[in-house]
């Protein structure tokens, strides 16, 4: 055990060195010394050039980077040798891989005269790497290993908020890196400022929610308060950097950004490890019950695919005003459809553990309001799309509601084939987005539809397996109930993943996406397929993890496809 404590201390040390490295890298950008040493990996053909002018910054950065690289190598080695947790061993090895990639990105940036995407990637990976090492320090800490949980009424809310905040901070860092590398477009700066305010608000919300937790308060308050104060300082530094534009303020802003990302990530991890969301959740006002009725996470995911469809169809730079209209209308339709679905399934939901806490079966919301809300939102959404987008979009949205509410929902009680009907409804949002761009439908929209359709089959089959016990009680006819041991379902999942592999490469073959998309998705699919095979071999033991992986996969597809398009 004593050895493992040594690993923890070592990782804290590497994290500190990394922060120093982030600062040194920031000074290189801040002083414009990035190209003062034209060659790489040597400096003017030497290991140690005279430290004059800009070389002082660039070469110091290289030296610290080399040291951090070596330290990370030994850290990964120590973890590999001493650590019993397999995933953590790989996490350590991943850190070393990251530092190597980072070095290569740094080299490319020098040899190709600071190409913007590479410089920004180098900056983002730097900040992520710091958080990575800090996460290792957390995972090797005593309190993490003990894993004692504290009860929290707002546990789910805190977890959700912390994930949202960490994601916002990461996006914020990417924007910051763009601005720092010369992209001072007013819209970008405005978005950066707006996101700063959102992050600050998220921190305050977390603070307020933590402060009201009687048991968890003591354990998390320092972390939460520290983070909120740091974010406030960071905003002030940002304003200073914006007005003064000095090398030092810019670098301070960037180092503080790395710290904020790190603390936010650690808080998120701790919330997931150490909070025990108590069963007696706070009732929440009627408004929140209505929001819950829309299945916000599902709706958000569908909206992401709608945005994807829109971006892919837009011929030039997407018109954000129209996109906003399409997304708003779709949100109404999607939320409304989910509310109607829950209205129709109140009896079934009440029988299942997973769903008994929903607003209707738990009695926090009455049926009539749910029905009125669901119908009104769906209709309003279709109407909104008709006025602010185009008739085709409105029709497709209407079709989605009709299939989801009037075919899929009743069909769940009749036949196991409902999953396929549900997948049609779930794949339509991307087509809605496509139509929203005003281009009319063609084969390319069908390709996007098929990717989303095929993705849902393994995803929902795995989910249904996770909740198999629940479904047995509910009386719904789910595919998972056709199988006893999981072998047959596993083969199904592998089969659909194979089809998905083929479908997801099509966009590059018809010119909808480029080579970047093709290579990234080819690899992602390989991993995803491997996970599916692993899942099948193990007879679906790890279905829950597979579900998370499938969400990550879809987000990758959406992200890469959009990035490739831009």
């Amino acid at each position: 055990m004593a050895d493992n404590r040594w690993v923890h201390r070592f990782s804290v040390g590497v994290a500190c060195a990394t922060l120093l490295l982030v600062a040194a890298g920031g000074l290189v950008t801040g002083t414009g010394s990035g190209l003062s040493v034209p060659d790489w990996p040597l400096s003017y053909g030497q290991f140690f050039p005279p430290m004059v002018g800009g070389i002082r910054f660039e070469h110091t950065h290289r030296m610290i980077a080399g040291a951090v690289g070596i330290l990370t190598f030994f850290l990964a080695l120590a973890i590999w040798a001493r650590e019993k947790r397999r995933w953590l061993r790989w996490f350590g090895a991943g850190a070393f891989a990251a530092v190597l990639i980072q070095a290569i990105l740094g080299g490319i940036t020098v040899l190709f005269f600071l190409p913007l995407p590479v410089s920004v990637a180098h900056a983002c990976l730097a900040q992520s790497f710091f958080s990575w090492i800090a996460a290792i320090a957390l995972f090797t800490s005593k309190s993490w290993k003990k894993g004692r949980r504290t009860e929290a009424k707002r546990g789910d809310l805190l977890r959700f908020l912390s994930v949202a905040m960490t994601a916002s901070i990461f996006v914020q860092l990417a924007m910051g890196a763009l601005i720092r590398h010369g992209q001072r477009h007013p819209l970008l700066v405005a978005a950066h400022i707006l996101t700063a305010l959102i992050i600050f608000l998220q921190a305050l919300l977390i603070w307020a929610a933590t402060a009201r937790e009687e048991k968890a308060r003591g354990r998390f308050f320092r972390h939460v308060a520290g983070l909120a104060i740091l974010i406030f300082l960071q905003v002030s530094l940002g304003v200073t950097a914006l007005l003064a534009r000095g090398a030092l303020t810019g670098t301070a802003h960037q180092v503080m950004g790395a710290l904020v990302l790190c603390l936010s990530l650690l808080l998120t991890l701790r919330f997931f490890r150490h909070l025990e969301p108590s069963a007696a959740e706070s009732k929440g006002s009627g408004f929140w019950q209505l929001i819950r009725l829309t299945k916000p996470r599902l709706t958000l995911m569908a909206l992401a695919t709608t945005a994807l469809g829109f971006m892919m169809a837009a011929p030039g730079p997407a018109v954000f005003e129209i996109l906003a209209h399409v997304l708003f209308g779709s949100a109404l339709v999607g939320g409304g459809a989910n509310a109607l679905n829950q209205f129709m399934e109140k009896d079934v939901d009440a029988k299942m553990k997973r769903t008994e806490g929903r607003p209707l079966p738990s009695g926090r919301l009455d049926e009539k309001s749910a029905l009125i809300f669901g119908a009104a939102a769906s209709l309003a959404g279709v109407g909104y799309l008709l006025f602010f987008a185009n008739p085709l979009t409105a029709f497709l949205a209407f079709l989605t509601v009709a299939i989801y509410v009037f075919i899929y929902t009743p069909l769940k009680r009749k036949t196991a084939l409902n999953t396929f009907v549900g997948a049609v409804a779930g794949a339509l949002p991307v087509v809605i987005g496509w139509a929203g761009a005003g281009q009319g439908l063609d084969g390319r929209a069908a390709i996007l539809f098929s990717i989303l359709f095929l993705w849902q089959l393994p995803h929902f089959l795995a989910i249904s397996w996770v909740y198999r016990e629940d479904y047995l009680k509910s009386g719904l006819r789910m595919v998972c109930l056709l199988d006893e041991g999981g072998g047959w379902l596993g083969r199904q999942i592998v089969f659909y993943c194979l089809l998905l592999w083929a479908a997801s490469l099509l966009p590059s073959l018809v010119g909808l996406s480029g080579g970047v998309y093709f290579s990234v998705i080819f690899m992602s699919n390989l991993i995803f397929l491997w996970l599916a095979v692993y899942l099948a071999v193990q007879k679906l033991v790890r279905a829950r993890q597979f579900v998370s992986a499938s969400i990550l996969y879809l987000l990758t597809v959406i992200g890469v496809m959009m990035a490739d398009k831009i």
Binding site: L35, S36, Y44, G54, I55
Partner: protein, 229 residues
């Protein structure tokens, strides 16, 4: 077939006879020039040693009579369709005393640029063209020479040194020989310009560019550019 050839030959003679003409001009600055800021030479002790009394940025160099140095003047329009062979002799470009000499210059497409490091310190020479290929080269040793060319016209290409951030030079790359730089008396000369109508442009690092139409007939034409501070 024969007629155009005859016209061409005649035109050639007319041009040769009348080609003694050129442009002489002056560039001046109206208003108060900005104060030239002192450079922080501490960053490189070698540079500090070469300038014990310090060095100023000298982005704007104004002579006592109000004329402006380091403006680049060239024929922007009027030479379309004509081709000129690039000279083989290189343009000398020196890094001396942690400054570029010359600071502003013209060079022809594909004409070699001979870069020299006369300093007892190291420089990186980083050219940032948009049309030609970018380069960034290390020159760690005193007396080291490098040859580079630009293969597309471009006015102006910035050349800088990231070791010494105050070092900046500008090259005007042209596919014809009709250009000049205003010197220590603010004057410039463009020689042997064939008669015709031209548009001249004057460019300055700080004050941007301005154009002027000029007609060149048999004799030297005087032109004046005025920048406003």
């Amino acid at each position: 077939m024969k007629k155009p050839l005859a016209v061409l030959i005649t035109a050639f003679f007319i041009q040769t006879i009348a080609s003694a003409a050129g442009i002489t001009g002056k560039v001046s600055l109206e208003g108060q020039p900005p104060v030239s800021e002192a450079i922080k030479l501490d960053a490189d002790p070698n540079c500090k040693m070469m300038h014990p009394d310090g060095l100023t940025a000298d982005q704007v160099l104004v002579n006592s009579d109000g004329t402006l140095q380091n403006a680049f003047i060239y024929v922007k329009e009027g030479l379309e369709g004509k081709t000129f062979e690039a000279p083989k002799e290189p343009v000398a470009f020196d890094q001396k005393g942690c400054q570029y000499h010359p600071k502003v210059f013209g060079i022809r497409v594909n004409q070699p640029l001979e870069i020299l490091n006369s300093d007892d310190t190291l420089h990186n020479v980083h050219a940032l063209p948009k049309n030609s290929k970018e380069f960034n080269l290390g020159m760690p040793i005193k007396g080291m020479k490098l040859k580079k060319t630009f293969d597309k016209p471009e006015v102006m290409i910035k050349i800088k040194c990231e070791v010494h951030p105050w070092m900046a030079a500008y090259a005007g790359v042209l596919d014809h020989p009709y250009f000049g730089v205003s010197g220590e008396d603010g004057s410039f000369q463009i020689k042997d310009l064939p008669p015709g109508n031209y548009v001249l442009e004057a460019w300055h690092e700080k004050y941007g560019a301005q154009t002027q139409a000029v007609t060149v007939a048999g004799e030297d034409q005087a032109v004046e550019f005025k920048f406003k501070a």
